[in-house]
């Protein structure tokens, strides 16, 4: 198995000034993310998702255990940039990750930090902006863009490093439905067309239906790990974890409770409709 990110019994705790005891957030976590996959990470508030994500590119360093990115130990100071340019990170609030007053200058930030020559930076910036569909707005000021547009600029800013993997930490939490759709489309495009490994942390179940794998965290541990079609049908268990299931699964679940017998693994609306239909026609026949 070719893994791009690998954690080995990763432990982390935040120290606080008031508290004597550090607050343990990750408790011996083992996770391997395969190259080219789309992994969704779910979990209730405070379950440690963001903390885990910050270990993937060495923003936080493990207190115990190890994190490897393409075999590089993230805790080694000398290879930090190697780790960071392999694993890009997009955060929730687009306003707080844009550094420049002009879209293209912002996208240029990472390749500039990596010391590429000007012509190459130009190329990377233009490519990245085309991928997210913001090329025509390259000379705009970010604060005049919509939330979804800002978030796509932020994605371009990460793509300009040509990362192998991009970690998204609730990228749509502050966006309107249109912006959310655009961002999710861009994320899928990364995986499908550019073979970038995608890790998506989210509270919106609809965004996970295209994932290859769903990882559910609870109190700093992984409690469920599997393909969405296997994970979501356990509706009761997911609810116990303080999580929702996609609406399609929810409908089938409710119908199922009413005595109809459905399979609960329909994730797209089409599948869901088909499932209901076949059950009907099957029952009628």
């Amino acid at each position: 198995m070719d893994s791009i990110i690998k954690t080995e019994s990763l432990t982390y705790a935040y120290r606080s000034v008031e508290d004597e005891h550090p607050r343990v957030v990750l408790q011996g976590l083992d996770l391997e993310i395969e190259r080219g996959t789309f992994v969704a990470i779910l979990g209730h508030n405070g379950s440690g998702k963001s903390t885990l994500a910050k270990h993937f590119n060495g923003i936080l360093l493990p207190l115990g255990g190890k994190v490897y990115v393409e075999g590089i130990d993230t805790s080694v100071e000398e290879t930090m940039l190697e780790v960071r340019k392999r694993v890009g990170m997009v955060f929730q609030n687009p306003d707080n990750q844009l550094v420049a007053n002009v879209v293209e200058e912002d996208v240029a930030f990472a390749p500039e930090n990596l010391g590429y020559p000007p012509e190459e930076i130009r190329m990377r910036v233009d490519d990245a902006l085309r991928i997210v569909g913001m090329y025509d707005m390259r000379e705009h000021a970010p604060h005049l863009l919509s939330g979804g547009q800002k978030q796509r600029v932020a994605i371009a800013g990460v793509l300009a490093m040509s990362p192998k993997c991009v970690v998204f930490d609730e990228p749509t939490a502050m966006l309107d439905p249109q912006g959310r759709q655009d961002v999710i489309r861009t994320i899928r495009q990364l995986r499908d067309e550019m073979n970038v490994t995608v890790v998506l942390i989210t509270h919106h179940m609809e965004e996970t239906i295209h994932a290859d794998r769903v990882v559910v965290m609870s109190d700093g541990k992984i409690v469920v790990d599997g393909p969405p079609k296997k994970v979501f049908p356990n509706v009761e268990y997911m609810r116990e974890q303080g999580l929702d299931v996609p609406e399609t699964v929810d409908i089938l679940y409710e119908l199922d409770k009413c005595g109809f017998h459905y399979r609960l693994d329909a994730l797209s609306v089409d599948e869901c409709a088909r499932e209901i239909l076949t059950a009907f026609t099957g029952a009628g026949a």
């Binding site: 930090m80 890009g88 550094v99 007053n101 500039e112 930090n113 010391g115």
Partner: protein, 268 residues
């Protein structure tokens, strides 16, 4: 009300003034400020004013826009004017009231001082209006780069400035939002004396500061994630280059400064 704050705004354009290298413009603004404070005679003042008017016309920025920059510091200008009006020694007394004397010399000094301050603001705002903040901070970084040898944190300073400029619109927007939210709950920012208004602003500052710190924290993580590690080994997409017009402009600047000094001597 906050929309009036034009600090750090940039109006893109394609004029000579816009195209000059930011380093040239920074030097010229310094030349302009020196000239403005060196000017002692009406003739010298007139020359500085003509140069300002020519530059503003060349930049195609409207004079009303340029004047807007004066508004936030109107009070400072007025106080300076009043102080000059009453505390300038002179012989041609207009009137005497208790211990205050107003002289013709006072009127003249006050008028010139007000004019000087307004022109000072106009000149510096012309710089920020016609230069993108990035070009400006890049220019500053390069101009100051000799100081790096003295371990002066030039890159850090430039980065701080550019980030401050980047966040001004965001923070203004946020202030407006918090103000609206508090107005909706009955806060009153528009009536009462200065003290009362300042007190009304206090509950505004607390959430603003909290959010600014949170933003700074998130921004630093985002910057690190994008491989920021200080100025060392960093390259730029757009390299600044001196063109022929920059040399021309610098020569004109030198001539202008010389002319101001000459006019100071010729017309007493």
């Amino acid at each position: 009300m906050l929309k009036d704050v034009t600090l750090g705004q940039f109006f893109p354009g394609d004029t000579v003034v816009h195209r000059l290298d930011p380093r040239t413009k920074l030097i010229l603004v310094i030349v302009y400020i020196v000239a403005l404070f060196a000017a002692k005679t009406y003739a010298a003042y007139a020359l500085v004013m003509i140069v300002l008017i020519v530059c503003v016309s060349l930049s195609q920025i409207r004079f009303t826009t340029i004047m807007k920059g004066v508004k936030p510091i109107l009070i400072v200008i007025l106080i300076t004017g009043i102080l000059n009006l009453f505390f300038t020694q002179g012989e041609h007394v207009i009137f005497r009231l208790w211990k205050l004397t107003m002289t013709w010399e006072g009127v003249r000094t006050a008028a010139l001082m007000i004019l000087r301050l307004i022109m000072l603001i106009n000149g510096t705002f012309l710089l920020t209006y016609t230069t993108s903040p990035i070009a400006l901070t890049d220019g500053l970084e390069l101009l100051l780069s000799p100081l790096k040898k003295l371990r002066f944190p030039v890159h850090e300073l430039a980065m701080m400035m550019s980030i401050a400029l980047r966040f001004i619109p965001t923070l203004i927007e946020e202030t407006d939002k918090i103000m609206s939210a508090q107005k909706a709950r009955g806060a009153d920012f528009d009536t009462g004396g200065i003290v009362q208004r300042a007190k009304a602003m206090l509950p505004l500052l607390v959430p603003l500061f909290v959010s600014a710190f949170r933003r700074a924290d998130e921004l630093s993580v985002a910057m690190e994630s994008r491989c920021y590690h200080g100025g060392e080994g960093r390259t730029r997409m757009k390299k600044l280059t001196f063109a022929r017009r920059d040399f021309g402009a610098l020569i004109l600047g030198a001539v202008f400064l010389a002319a101001v000094f000459a006019l100071n001597r010729v017309w007493k």
